[in-house]
Each structure stands twice: as C-alpha cells, then as structure tokens.
Symmetry: C2
Subunit: 439 residues, 2 copies
C-alpha cells in the first residue's frame, strides 16, 4: 500500500463539510497538501497517510472557516466611540469627522486588528468596503486572510483618492496590483444609490463585468433611503438598479432591509447575492431584513457583521445566533432559519455571495483549505446532541481553537501565528488616543 | 498611619460600581474582608492597605457580578436536544419526555454544569425554577454561587414530590433547611396562571409573604397563554393575579412578553419585578416584551437567560447585547436601551428583582463581595472609548478573567476553583447518552 504524503492532517473531530449533500462525519479527518484539501473522510481511512503536521481536534468540530460578507474592517478604530444615538448624530458628529482624518496608516492598523479579531473568532474570509483599500488588502495579506476588497466610490471627494475619476483609477490600480494574488480579490464598490449618481453606478457595473469581479453596494438599508430614492427616481433602490441594468449575478447587495415583493423577485430573477447584517441593522434601528422570504424565493444570502462601530464586534458566530433568533420572533415561527440553514449562510452561501463558491465555504477535495477547529471541551458546549445547533446557538467565537487559511495554519490554541497581537493592539490604542484628542 | 489588613484587593482596572450615582473609577481598586467589600476608590488611596491576596485586573474592567434573574439550570442536560421546532412539538415530543425521567442526581449534575458555565461567563447570582430544587441549591452551594431557588408548583403531579400538597411541604422543607445559608435563598415558585389553579396561587403568595421570600412565576410569555387565561377568567394573566391579590413587591414576573397598557401600570403600581429573557423569547418565537415601556413606567427589570434548552446558553453578556439591539430595532429608535441602562439591568436591577438589592448587584462598602474582572487585552476589546458600551456590545462571557462571590475567589484565569470541570462535563456526557437512549 502506497503512503500518501501530505502537509497537514486535521483529525479527531466531527466534520461538517457543508458540501451540497451536507455530509457529516462523526469521527472524521481532513488532509491538506499545499493550499488545497486533498482528502477527507472517516478517520480510519487515513491510516496510510503521512503528514508533516497533525492538528488534533480533541473530539471538537472541524468545519469550513466562516465568511463575513460585509464589513468595514478599519472601523475597529471607532469601536464604541459613540453608541445609542440617532443615526444622523452618530454619523455627522462622530463617524464622519473621525473618518475625515483617516490615512493609509490608520486604515492598515485598524484592518490588521480586525483581521486578528476575525481570525480568533473563526472567520477565514471577509469582504471589505472602505477608504484606502490597498492598505486593507495589505493587512489581510499580512494576516494570512482571504479577502475581497474594494475602494468605496461616491459622488463627493474621497479622503483617499480625491475626485471620483481618481477613484476609478485607484480601483483599476487595485485590480492590476492584486490580480494574481492567492488571497486577495478585488471588487468594484459603489457606496449606494443615494451617494452615487446613475453614471457612476453604470460605469462601476461595466468595470466589474469586464474583469468578472463582484460589484458590492449598500442597498435599501433604511426606510429613509428607500423614500429618498423613490422621491428622486420614482423607483425603489432595487428597481432603480434594474432600470440602470446593474442587477446581475455578480452584484452583492448589502443589507436589503426594506424590500418590496417586486424587489425580492427582481433579486431572484437576476441572481443577485444578498449580505444580511442583522446586528448592525438592529443596533442602528434600521429594521429587519425579510430573509426568510428571500431564502424561500431562492436568493443566495450570506451573513455579515458590518463595521464594528455599529455592532460592536466582528463575530459571525454572534450573527448566526442573532439571525436564527431574530427571524423566528419576527415571524412568530420557531421553525424558520433552522440551524443548518444558518450554518450554510455563514459558510457556503457566503462564499457564493462573494463569487468564491469554487474556492472556499465548504470542505471538499480540490478546494482551498480554509477551515477551523472548535474546542467543545467547555461547560457551555456540553452535552452535544446536534453539531449544527451547537454551532448556531451555543458555540462562541472564543471557542475556535485553530484556523487554517489557504493551507496555512494562522491560529492555533488561541494564538495568532501571523502577527504580534500585542503590538497590533498597542498601535490601535495609540490611534484611539489621537482620535479622542480630535487629531 | 495605620495599616489596614484585608483579605483581597482587586486593583488596576476601570471600576464600574453600578451604585446609585453610577460612580466610575478609571484606575480603581476594591478591598474585601471576609465576605464583604470594605473599601473602594482610586488605586492611590490603597497605599496603606495590606492584603493577603492581590488580584490584578491588568487594566481591564472590575464590575459587579452579573445576575441571571430567570433560569432552569439543570436543563443543560437538554442543551440542543431539539431546536427550530413548533413550541408544542418541542415540549411534548422532546422536553417533557426527557424531564419525566429526571431525578435528584441528574438535576444536581445538570445544575453543577450550569454553575460552571455561569461562573465562567461572569454570573455570580441566579434565580432558578425547576424540579428537585434541593439538588440545585446543593449544586450552587458546592459551586460557590449565590442563588435563589424554588421548587416549581403546579396542579398536576410532579416527578419530584408527587401531589401538590407535598409540593408545599417540600417548599417549606427548603425554607427551613436553607434559612441561615450565606449563599442560598429560597423562593416560592408557582409555575404560571395556566398551570396553577387560583387556590395554589393564593396559597403560594401567602407562604412567600409569611417568610418574606420572592414569589417567582411565569407571566404572559405567549399570546396563546394570554388568550387562554382571558377565555378562562376574563382577565389577562396580570389582571388575574391582581384579582387574586397576588401582585406585590416580592413578585418576580418572568417573561411579560404580551402585556396591555393596563398590565404595565398594574405591574408598576404594585412594584412587581420583571425578568426579561430576550433570547429565549426570540428562539421560541414568543414575541418581544415591551421593556422600554416598562422602564419608562419605572418598573424594575432584570435580565435572564431562561433554561439553556431554549437559548442555548446561560450567558448574560449575550442577553445584554441582544436586549440592547432588539428593542432598538423593534421601536425603530437607536437611543432606547442605552448601554448604561442595560448594564444596570444585568447587575443592580437584577439584584433588586430577586430581593437582594442590599446584598449584591453593585460595588459598595458593606455589600457582599460579588464581583468580576474582565480582561480587555484582546483584539475585540481594543480600543475602549466607553466601558459601558464595551460591556454591552463588545465583551463576551469568555473575557471574564476572575470571579469573586461572597468574598471567595471562585474563578481565576479562566479556571474554576470550586469544582473539577472535566468531571462535571464527563458526568453530563453520560447523562446525555442515557437521554439519547430514552433512559
């Protein structure tokens, strides 16, 4: 019998593959060679494998890394800067003034801290929209995280690139610079229908389609936004995007809180992807997105944390728990958003939403090795009757014991292996002191 | 200058006292002698103190231990046994059959695991309603937790005491047995207006008043319950309890999801206390309690996890985060349930709700030393602009580094000092295997 030589074997755990059949192995193992999964199955099928490194799950859960489909990573700089305020006070008196003083350095440091927080809580891939996104790409790369990043585009001058024309140039620079990267993917990211003129939206869409990239945009986050677009164009934001020819399978519509039935069927017809951010929508009192209806229609929905200034964390385990519970109480139906559905949203559906369905989101031979190990030897995770239920309703981000991204171990035993966590935190404390001083 | 000799000094942290003035000390310390807090103030006022033991908060947060005002601790045995089901299927096909096989031993083991989970996530005091409550009292005592426990009373025979008459005898036994205990307090606990006849409710109320004990009951948890009581008695559950003369300041009404304006003013008029259990109410799709209205009226509201089979955890940090966000989105007002209000609910208001306002819930000289230390040297807790916001929106149960109850250190550096955690977990795994087998 031939010995199969691999780099890493993760073993001794319940494996949730999240493949199309939702294959589950009670005592399974995953073998990794280079950046890919090369074998998975019951533990006893691995006897002829030789691995350079063994990661023992100690009876815990082995599952795909979580996908955060919408965030503004560098807003860690503003975590808890202001809360419990009306939206416009929060934005105009706190967030916008602080953002006007952002630079490449602060965005990089903020994003690196965000990557630390995300890796430690089981996220292996995130989609970011912000300013100075080249710095976010560098931070993700340095942290060893998979990311989809795009510079935010809008009608007014940006603290990064200045006038819009340069925003498109900056986006094209990002596309060119990162095109062959194994971890970083670029998206085209117009902010929203209320901050972007029709020409901007159309041009962004054409650019995204030309390079086959995701087009990421905020859509129908608040009642106020929908009223504004209706007043201006006589259409809902979704209807307006259809009118412009922007609805397409590469579009990721973030939030989608206030939708009409017609909006929902448009999103389905054009195979638009949706990012659901329940905690941010709750904290900002925006509303509750009609996710059960979107799922029923067959729309692909992933989960997102949004920026941590409106959350105030970047933890997809918390979003799973909240999403499952929020829609139950909102529909008075305890059967909606069952645990399997929610785990799928945070893994495979999230990957599809970012155009990375062939790359990550499930444990399958040939896919990139993006996976996490959950330590279940803790009082709050005993007993375990059902691993899906556990992942949604009982596991916390702090239970993630190990994380592998693109075949590389980035965290083990709660220790980050790609950065010096103390330095990263100290950098952010200094930035926060400057922000407090109005600098 | 005289040296002041104390047992423990907790120092080097931001102290949230949660006293009436909400005194906050940026670099404060707390001194403990015996079971009591004997001094607190800025760190430099402690130079003449000598302590047998120093607990260094390392720049973290020092605050009162959290109060869980409503749970069924031993339901840890059923964590994740069944989820995402209609209420009656969940109860009749899963929970009731499993509960019918409970005994003193299972209840003790389940409660001990619950205490482990609660201590590790910062809870120092809980109120329990279940069967075999003497076993819960023993578990809390062995774990070193402060608890209010009461045997559930209802019209049908109990797996513990048999007929109702023996339920009252059991309760009186508990009152007598635990009357001088420093940690365990007994309550009288009729289940609800739908499982308890008028005579039971009146008799329970008289017994509670006679011994000056809390009277704990489920009230208006679902629309269905309210309709049932209206059909039967022509009154809402709250109105019915008033009619029976049961509303009083010692009554703790758990859930209060479906209330009329008249109910709210009755609760206020009789100074009834309310336990708010947002996550359980969401998961069971019961509804959203009108907490902002209750607070506006001046009703004392604490937070509770409910049993972990309908949650599926016992974590008050998660309830705080959820409560703050849920009521914002439900009222479309981001200013309701601000962070300070929510921290007060989980500490001082919770203590008042259990009749322990003079004992625990705040850090004040002369009160029992029930306090926790939060480690803020973690990426998701950097930077910190506002400690209240941090506690509600960013801190997780797993960030609690140390816990002191009644002057005794029960947890330090994430290690439980009052029990062997591995044994406690192994016991529960065995019980779960028996439950799976239908034993």
């Amino acid at each position: 019998m031939q010995t199969k030589s691999v780099d890493i074997i993760v073993l001794n755990g319940t494996v949730l593959t999240m493949d199309a059949q939702e294959t589950l192995m009670m005592n399974g193992a995953v073998a990794i060679k280079g950046d890919k999964i090369v074998a998975l199955g019951p533990a006893d099928a691995f006897s002829e494998f030789k691995a350079k490194r063994i990661i023992d799950a100690h009876g815990g859960i082995i599952m795909p890394g979580l996908v955060n489909t919408h965030t503004h990573a560098s807003m860690t700089c503003f975590r808890g800067l202001a809360d419990d305020l009306p939206l416009m006070t929060w934005l105009n008196d706190y967030i916008f003034p602080a953002e006007s003083k952002l630079d490449e350095e602060r965005v990089y440091r903020g994003a690196l801290l965000a990557c630390a927080e995300m890796i430690l809580s089981g996220i292996t891939c995130f989609c970011d929209m912000y300013l100075f996104e080249d710095a976010v790409a560098r931070a993700a790369k340095d942290a060893g995280m998979r990311a989809v990043v795009g510079e935010v585009l809008y009608d007014f001058p940006s603290p990064n690139y200045g006038p819009l024309e340069k925003g498109f140039a900056y986006t094209e620079m990002l596309i060119d610079k990162w095109k062959d990267d194994e971890l970083i993917n670029i998206a085209v990211e117009p902010h929203s229908t209320y901050l972007c003129a029709p020409d901007l939206l159309k041009r962004a869409s054409i650019l995204a389609l030309k390079h086959d990239l995701p087009l990421v945009i905020h859509v129908s986050e608040t009642r106020n936004e929908v009223d504004l677009i209706k007043d201006k164009y006589g259409l809902t934001p979704v209807g307006f995007l259809e009118d412009l020819g922007v609805l397409s399978p590469n579009l990721l519509a973030c939030h989608c809180v206030v939708l009409t039935e017609e909006d929902i069927s448009l999103l389905h017809r054009f195979n638009v992807k949706v990012s659901h951010n329940p905690e941010s929508n709750m904290k900002l009192a925006s509303g509750i997105a009609p996710i059960p209806e979107l799922l029923k229609e067959g729309v692909c929905v992933g989960l997102g944390t949004d920026g941590c200034a409106s959350n105030n964390n970047l933890d997809i385990f918390l979003e799973m728990d909240t999403a499952a519970k929020l829609h139950k109480v909102n529909t008075f139906d305890p059967t909606v958003m069952d645990a399997r559905t929610v785990v799928r949203m945070s893994t495979m559906e999230g990957a599809k939403a970012l155009g990375l369905g062939d790359v990550t989101g499930s444990l399958e031979i040939g896919k990139k090795a993006d996976l996490i190990v959950i330590d279940t030897k803790k009082p709050h995770l005993v007993p375990m009757y059902n691993p899906y239920s556990h992942v949604v309703y009982a596991v916390k981000g702090s239970d993630v014991a190990a994380s592998i991204i693109n075949g590389k171990v980035v965290m083990e035993d709660g220790r980050l292996l790609t950065m010096d966590m103390d330095n990263v935190m100290e950098d952010l404390r200094k930035i926060a002191q400057q922000i407090r001083n109005g600098d």
